[in-house]
């Protein structure tokens, strides 16, 4: 057997005990690994109605069989848990080097249970596992924590995932950061980690990943690499990063602006891929095994001292990594800020403080709308929350992480904040999670993709702007659900492999990855089986959510998207016709009209016993 290590590490933070367990071979085959395998465990072991911030919630870190191999972008790990932001199952994905290191230490999965009695961190050095005191890191930023752990443990090659002050302070959209700039970003997985009093997981692994059929495996890898080398999507990611997408979405009136009040941003060109590359980027940077290198290592411009807050002297001009597309949008267009340095600074703060820039930007945009409409006034906030205010952007990132002043409200996310101020309509998201950077009025299919995503508003399960900007009419609801369902299955099985989703748009679709999985594990996966595994995973997540108390009513969109069209631009006059798309979606899924998987479907997927 290869690809998988076949082992999981289970750590109970309450009792301080740990165990190394064998993973059932049948489960590895049925789910490939990663997201699916972790969902299977979560389904088996946890009461979905439990408090996400209580000790009953489990926090699972899952690699895939290709994590830690030379398959392009085989860097990923998934964090699977009950999301603090969403109260639904979440599956938050990150690259960098930490996931491979966990694999090299000998584990496909790490399951964390309980709650540490005091601030602690977990140290894993192959089969040596220790829960150690983290008092000296509590309150510290991500960068300082990582450097400190490396020095304390004396292992230069140590890899660290950790939370920042935002996770400690239970900001609802706190991330788990790894390798300083990489994030398992969404749904408040860092909040869950914070609730467990766990500051960091420091890993050193000296083992390796075996391969069942090396020759076939390497042939599949080289073929995938060759394909990607010449692929225009790959070239664009390498040259311009993900922020190149700004031009596309803005052109279609699908770049949400000022909390989705507009669909185009007048300063889009100040934030796009070319702007970053030409004016701020020092180098591009890859995650482990990545042949794309979409990461941007950036520096701030000369005039940006005014945004210098909370900065380590050594990093005084380094903005760190980013912004990638989502952060550039959330911290930029959505808040109306067209100052690239402010966006870079805010992004740097989100990384160091450990917060999801999408939810941060979107929640701030919601607050800016409250301020714009007079719901909150200057007495409520320490700095005017005017759309376009760079100062407000940078300041409120800090205030949110530390829950200072109005930051306390922002720290709850836009849904809870909107409800508190009796204006729930300012929340632009679903299942409690703020949307990313695509306005479904510009790309109709995103509407059904957002509404049905198991972890709430998310663009990574079915990215419709691709086909909708090329082969489909972006404004008609027809045909969208039929495209979204198989695409969700496809991306889900992709997530299970441990390979970055971006390769799919860069010449490395599942058709190229499946042969790598087969050769690595020695289990032959046909494309049919791969897609079935994606569907199986999607359905088990759905079952989990239904047991957690979610219903059809949660497969919804904000009123603004359903009723309020843009008044100008390419998407002028369009609203999202979810009413049309959702029944078709349910039917395509083999679910009943209430969105419940039918017994036949469950039997077909081998889930009848659940």
């Amino acid at each position: 057997m290869g690809g998988w290590t076949g082992k999981l590490l289970r750590v109970n933070l309450t009792t301080g005990t740990h165990a190394i367990e064998d993973i059932p071979v049948a489960w590895m085959r049925e789910y490939i690994g990663g997201r699916g395998l972790a969902a299977r465990y979560l389904y088996e072991e946890m009461d979905p109605t439990a408090d996400p911030l209580g000790p009953e919630n489990k926090l699972i870190f899952a690699t895939g069989p290709l994590t830690g191999t030379p398959v392009p972008c085989g860097a990923r790990y998934m964090v699977v848990t009950k999301g603090a932001l969403t109260n639904a199952i979440t599956t938050s994905n990150s690259g960098g080097h930490w996931g491979p290191e966990l694999k090299f230490a000998g584990y496909d999965l790490l399951i964390l249970e309980g709650q540490a009695p005091r601030p602690s961190y977990l140290f894993i050095y192959d089969d040596r596992v220790e829960i150690r005191d983290a008092a000296q890191y509590w309150g510290k930023g991500v960068f300082e924590t990582e450097d400190g752990l490396r020095e304390e443990l004396g292992i230069p090659a140590l890899r660290v995932s950790c939370i920042g002050p935002a996770g400690e302070n239970l900001v609802k959209f706190a991330c788990i950061m790894n390798d300083k700039h990489r994030a398992a970003g969404r749904s408040g997985v860092g909040t869950v980690m914070g609730s467990k009093n766990l500051k960091a997981i420091a890993v050193r692994g000296t083992g390796g990943v075996d391969i069942a059929e090396p020759e076939a495996f390497m042939k599949a890898v080289w073929e995938m690499r060759a394909e990607m080398q010449d692929n225009p999507g790959r070239k664009s990611f390498t040259e311009l990063g993900t922020a190149a997408t700004i031009d596309l979405t803005n052109a279609f009136g699908g770049l949400p602006t000022r909390n989705f009040q507009q669909g185009q941003f007048e300063h889009a060109e100040a934030l796009n891929g070319n702007a970053v590359k030409d004016t701020r980027m020092v180098s591009n940077k890859a995650c482990f095994a990545c042949t794309i290198a979409c990461g941007r290592v950036c520096r701030l411009g000369e005039h940006s001292e005014k945004y210098m807050v909370n900065v380590h002297p050594r990093n005084w001009k380094t903005a760190g990594e980013g912004p990638e597309y989502e952060a550039a949008w959330a911290l930029g267009a959505d808040t109306g800020v067209g100052d690239l340095d402010a966006v870079l600074k805010a992004n740097w703060l989100c990384n160091d403080l450990g917060m999801d820039p999408i939810s941060m930007g979107s929640t701030l945009a919601s607050a800016m709308e409250l301020y714009q409409t007079g719901v909150i006034g200057d007495d409520d906030v320490e700095t005017p929350l005017t759309f376009g205010s760079a100062e407000a952007l940078v300041r409120m990132c800090e205030a949110t992480a530390y829950r200072e002043g109005f930051g306390t409200e922002l720290a709850e996310g836009a849904k809870r904040m909107g409800e508190k101020f009796n204006r729930p309509e300012v929340f632009m998201g679903s299942k409690g999670q703020e949307f990313p950077a695509y306005d479904p009025r510009g790309f109709q299919g995103m509407g059904v993709a957002y509404a049905t995503c198991n972890r709430g508003g998310c663009h990574l399960r079915a990215w419709t702007p691709g086909p909708e900007s090329s082969t489909m009419d972006p404004h008609t609801p027809a045909g969208k659900s039929e495209w979204v369902v198989p695409e969700q299955n496809r991306t889900t099985s992709h997530d299970n492999t441990g390979v970055c989703l971006f390769v799919a748009g860069a010449g490395g679709p599942m058709e190229k990855i499946a042969p790598c999985v087969s050769a690595a594990t020695g289990h032959p996966y046909s494309m049919d089986e791969v897609l079935k595994i994606g569907e199986r995973t999607w359905n088990i997540e759905r079952l989990w959510n239904l047991r957690a108390g979610l219903t059809k009513a949660d497969d919804s969109l904000p009123k603004r998207l359903l009723k309020e069209p843009h008044t100008d631009g390419p998407s002028k006059g369009v609203t999202v016709n979810l009413e049309f798309m959702l029944p078709i979606y349910y039917e395509a899924r083999g679910w009943d009209p209430e969105g419940v998987p039918s017994p036949e479907k469950l039997t077909e997927l081998g889930l009848a016993s659940l």
């Binding site: 090659a157 083992g207 390796g208 020092v282 940077k285 482990f288 290592v297 002297p313």
Partner: protein, 162 residues
């Protein structure tokens, strides 16, 4: 003139494909901790570069060996460890001023870059041509510009100078 590994730091993205390749060739498993090419990741200076034995002229490792277990592969000019001769004394490791010769307890013999006998897997694996296997008098010509970049970026950041 023989071939050397030439490194082009500006092309490196820090992806570790070279470490994966090297460890696979040595151990038949993907275990970067066993790689003898090590990627330097200098985030603050935004500079990345793989680093391995230059097959340097002085060959400190070869001189330090008490039992002549490091010698020159005439096909490539590489200084290679003769495993059957190596006693595992670690002297080559502490004598190499580049930090590119290793002795680990598990193997108990020295290990270092041997240029894969003239077909270095790291160069094959590199997706950005940051590692080239090319004709040259001597390896290491890339150090000066790389040093310049790392040094100026650091000094600038440390002192606040522009």
């Amino acid at each position: 003139m023989s071939k050397v590994l030439n490194i082009v730091p500006d092309r490196c993205t820090g992806c570790m494909q070279c470490e994966l390749a090297c460890s696979w060739v040595q151990t038949g498993t993907f275990a970067p901790s066993k790689s003898v090419i090590r990627v330097n990741v200098f985030d603050e200076e935004a500079s990345y570069a793989p680093y391995t034995c230059l097959q340097c002229d002085e060959a400190w490792c070869m001189s330090a060996c008490p039992v002549n277990a490091i010698a020159i592969d005439e096909a490539t000019g590489a200084k290679v460890v003769i495993e059957a001769s190596c006693i595992g004394c670690h002297l080559c490791t502490i004598a190499c001023p580049f930090g590119t010769v290793f002795t680990t307890p598990k193997s108990d013999t020295a290990t270092k870059c041997n240029l894969c006998g003239g077909d270095p897997a790291c160069a094959t694996a590199c997706p950005t041509d940051a590692i080239e296997y090319v004709e040259a008098d001597r390896a290491g010509g890339w150090f000066e510009p790389w040093t310049e970049r790392v040094n100026s970026n650091y000094v600038e950041a440390a002192t606040g100078a522009n």
